[in-house]
Amino acid sequence: MTDFQRLLAALCAAGVEFIVIGGFAATAHGSAHVTVDLDVVYRRTADNIRRLADALSPLQPYLRGAPPGLPFAFDAETIRSGLNFTLMTVAGDLDLFGEAVGEGTYEALLRHSDERLVFGLVIRFVDLDTLIRLKRAAGRPKDLERIAELEAIRDESKP
């Protein structure tokens, strides 16, 4: 089972700039669905890539679904060469996005996000409307139920 607190604490302790999206963000906004992984958009600057590599190194990240034994090292060079990574770690499953759907980079999402204090950590979550946009842009049939719930949350939250 994914240890969300441990993953978030590792990212925060290393000073990684990231924004939580996906099911974990949906839960923070009020979704009743359960999610099994953590999805984050990370900033693609050289310094942040180095911090990201340092943060995750102790958690032994490996490509989820890949055969065991591949010569995979999740270091700054690997992150620079790639963009989005679906990882399994000793703290659970972590999806890293250099760019989410619809050119959803860290910079693009930053002003559509808010900081929240959770687990004693200051975590930046994408806002509800942007989360709905991301889900709509993904265009996956499996998300329709989730989008409907998120829009219901938005409707219920209106004063």
């Binding site: 839960t27 979704s31 009743a32 204090l117 942007t130 989008i147 219901a152």
Partner: protein
Amino acid sequence: MADSKLFETVSLDPAPVIEAYKKDVDLTLVRENLKLTPEQRLLKMISALRFAEEVRSSRIASK
């Protein structure tokens, strides 16, 4: 800075298919969650996830 494609091309206008799914959303769960703080919502989800994992791992093989 201009907004990305996400904000220019993805509308938040009502979509018929999503409106159809909305009828099945359990608003009682949503309303209960909205009474909680974000941290409380996350802890509640993690608790449910932990319970599901325990049930899954406690399955006893049938004779």
